[in-house]
């Protein structure tokens, strides 16, 4: 892989910078102890808290790659958590049902999103806004507007327990992200998605079933959000319909953007998205651990985001490459440069 062309490099750089900052300024940030047979430390916290973001952002990457957006992920998380909590408190279901039923029902809502967008041609922003607003209401109705608390050992496996010393949630999130990545990259689906994101109409004329692929993307996102919701619900042993996943859509979109996927659609980078999610969470954890005054917290986050987007922009890259290789670029006239760039793109070097 050519480093200069790699989109993931900037997210990786941002993550390294945050970790480097902590290495210098935050005492004990990298210390990992073993307590009660599991790893314990700030880094583990980051992974554990990033798991729901990784999941939703992975789904979001596919949706954004098709040229869409899914604002409903936060509400879908609340719904899946609420369904599980209602099931636990109202009956004696086998544990596997507590995972499968919420995921299937939430996936159906993903089908709804997909149908509106793929088949009815409604703007993704508007179509998913419907469930973003009403979905949280549905979740609140399910739990009666309260935090529905429960204790269920089997269900809590996902959100609270550890496997080989690592939080189960992290393994699930990473496995899911890798599985999705493998699936889209080892089949033609990934190319289809990118092609639809590039030009939906052209793709249809080439013979790609753009409608079904769009629906699938929203369904996968809904499934990811459902799992994330189950993780968060299990983690606090309660379905907090009003707050779980609140603002998650923004974190997910941000992760995708930091990870180098262009928000207009087309090329996508799930690896970058995972790094993006880790950037967001390590930033939050850093701020909390350091004890930055509350008023500055949001500004600090914004600054980092601005910095990452700045580094990613084509113009800045141009300046950088000129700086590293001044002679070649300076000799080219603007038109020559344009030709040079487009040749590069075609040859993919």
């Amino acid at each position: 892989m050519n480093i200069k062309q790699s989109k993931e490099i900037w997210a990786f750089l941002a993550l390294s910078l945050i970790l480097l900052f902590n290495l210098i300024f935050t005492q004990g940030f990298f210390s990992i102890e073993i307590r009660d047979g599991r790893f314990y430390g700030s880094l583990i916290d980051i992974l554990n808290r990033a798991a729901p973001i990784i999941l939703t952002a992975t789904g979001m990457t596919l949706v954004i790659a098709t040229g869409g957006i899914d604002l409903s992920v936060g509400s879908l998380m609340a719904i899946s958590g609420a369904i599980a909590a209602v099931m636990i408190s109202n009956g004696d279901f086998p544990t596997i049902f507590l995972f499968v039923v919420p995921i299937i029902l939430t996936a159906l809502l993903g089908v709804w999103n997909g149908l509106l967008i793929g088949f009815r041609g409604i703007q993704p922003f508007i179509a998913t806004l419907i469930l973003m607003v009403s979905g949280r209401g549905i979740a609140q109705l399910l739990t009666g507007g309260q935090i529905l608390i429960f204790e269920h050992q089997g269900f809590e496996l996902l959100g609270r327990s550890y496997f080989l010393g690592f939080p189960v949630a992290v393994s699930v999130a990473l496995l899911m992200a890798l599985a999705i990545n493998l699936f889209v990259r080892k089949t033609a689906i990934g190319l289809f998605i990118e092609s639809i994101g590039g030009n939906s109409t052209a793709s249809r004329y080439v013979g790609i079933n753009d409608k079904m692929i769009k629906v699938s993307a929203y369904v996968v996102t809904a499934i990811c959000a459902a799992i994330a919701g189950l993780i968060m619900t299990g983690n606090i042993r309660g379905a907090d319909s009003s707050h779980i996943g609140l603002g998650m859509e923004l974190d997910a979109i941000l992760s995708v953007a930091i990870g180098g996927t262009v928000l207009e659609g087309g090329r996508f980078h799930i690896g970058g998205t995972i790094l993006g999610a880790l950037v967001i969470q390590s930033l939050t954890t850093t701020i909390l651990t350091l004890g930055v005054p509350v008023e500055i917290t949001q500004i600090m986050k914004a600054l980092v985001v601005v910095l990452v987007s700045f580094l990613q922009s084509e113009n800045v890259k141009e300046i950088f490459s000129q700086y590293f290789n001044p002679r070649k670029k300076a000799l080219l006239t603007p038109i020559e440069k344009q030709i040079d760039d487009s040749t590069k793109e075609v040859l993919n070097v």
Partner: protein
């Protein structure tokens, strides 16, 4: 085609005007029943649910008409709700504000329409206090002071405290912090070693507490949370870090929700300051007096109490929220 569009537009506007006229006409006829427009935060917690029940039951008992609009925690929704109340020409507006600032324009509109506004739950910051009739709520500063005094008493004035703050900008958060500090600052050996926003939620409370434990470790001797949910989240974080909340670390929070009482009976939470949501009767009394032309004090505090592990078990069955 263009002419058609203009015609349809005109028709639409005419219908709008007519419907408005009819709606106004109907409103004026049924003037004898009192109509109250109530805009609240959102039904996100047990407190809100109890508040919801209280205002609805009391309205039904008095035979009043209650227009209840939920704001999903967004100020713009509340302003919109208030504008529609003004358009409906209700007799009184009850507002449970999401945030403290930014209310002047819409309250001025209400004043121009001659509709009294009663605040409940939290206060607001306006330059002209005449914009609202009265504020009915718990005194958050007093709550913070009660928590501080109890903690000073329990620890003999010696504690390293971490504080979980509510949503930035909410008066419940600002005042509970202020009240608590009023007391803590008089004890030289009581210190707040870390303080962060945890947004009044369990998930955030847990996440922030996890970070605090990593940063401060065993030096934390007390947790002060601006609401019970954050406190309960912090308790989970302490337990998962192998510490004993309630024993190794004293946990005190505010609100007095049912889950908090359960936790106190379990011994994981040490104390909670009640913030009663059963404000229906008090609010409607105030509405009635205002409509009768009486003047009310600008602030009418509700009566809050502190419960700890010694009194929790007896009170638990009585909790409505």
């Amino acid at each position: 085609m263009k002419g058609m569009k203009v015609f349809l537009m005109g028709l639409f506007l005419a219908v709008l005007c007519l419907s408005g006229a009819f709606a106004n006409g109907q409103q004026e006829k049924s003037d004898d029943t009192i109509t109250v427009g109530l805009s609240n935060n959102g039904a996100e917690s047990g407190w809100q649910l109890a508040y919801y029940n209280s205002v609805h039951e009391e309205a039904a008992a008095r035979g009043w008409k209650l227009n209840y609009v939920e704001a999903q925690n967004k100020q713009e929704n509340q302003i919109q709700a208030l504008r529609s109340f003004i358009a409906m020409d209700v007799d009184a507006i009850v507002l449970q504000p999401v945030v403290e600032t930014g209310w002047e324009p819409v309250l001025k509109e209400a004043k121009q329409a001659g509709i009294p506004v009663i605040l409940s739950g939290r206060g607001i910051k306006v330059s002209d206090e005449d914009l609202y009739v009265t504020l009915i709520c718990s005194d958050f500063i007093t709550e913070g002071e009660m928590a501080g005094e109890w903690l000073a008493d329990q620890t003999n004035g010696k504690a390293s405290i971490v504080e979980l703050q509510g949503t930035a900008g909410a008066s419940a958060a600002n005042d509970r912090k202020k009240g608590f500090e009023n007391i803590i600052n008089t004890y030289p050996e009581m210190k707040i070693i870390k303080s962060q926003v945890a947004e009044f939620t369990r998930t955030k409370g847990k996440e922030v507490m996890e970070a605090f434990i990593k940063a401060e470790g065993d030096s934390i001797t007390a947790v002060y949370a601006h609401n019970d949910d954050m406190g309960l989240g912090a308790i989970q974080a302490l337990e998962e870090a192998g510490m004993k909340p309630g024993e190794d670390v004293i946990v005190i929070s505010i609100d007095g929700i049912k889950d908090a009482f359960t936790a106190m009976v379990d011994g994981t939470l040490n104390a909670t300051v009640e913030c009663t949501p059963l404000l229906g009767p008090k609010i409607y009394d105030a509405v009635q007096s205002t409509l009768n032309g009486e003047t009310l004090p600008k602030f009418m505090p509700s009566d809050d109490r502190l419960f700890d592990t010694t009194t929790a078990a007896k009170e638990l069955p009585n909790r409505k929220f």
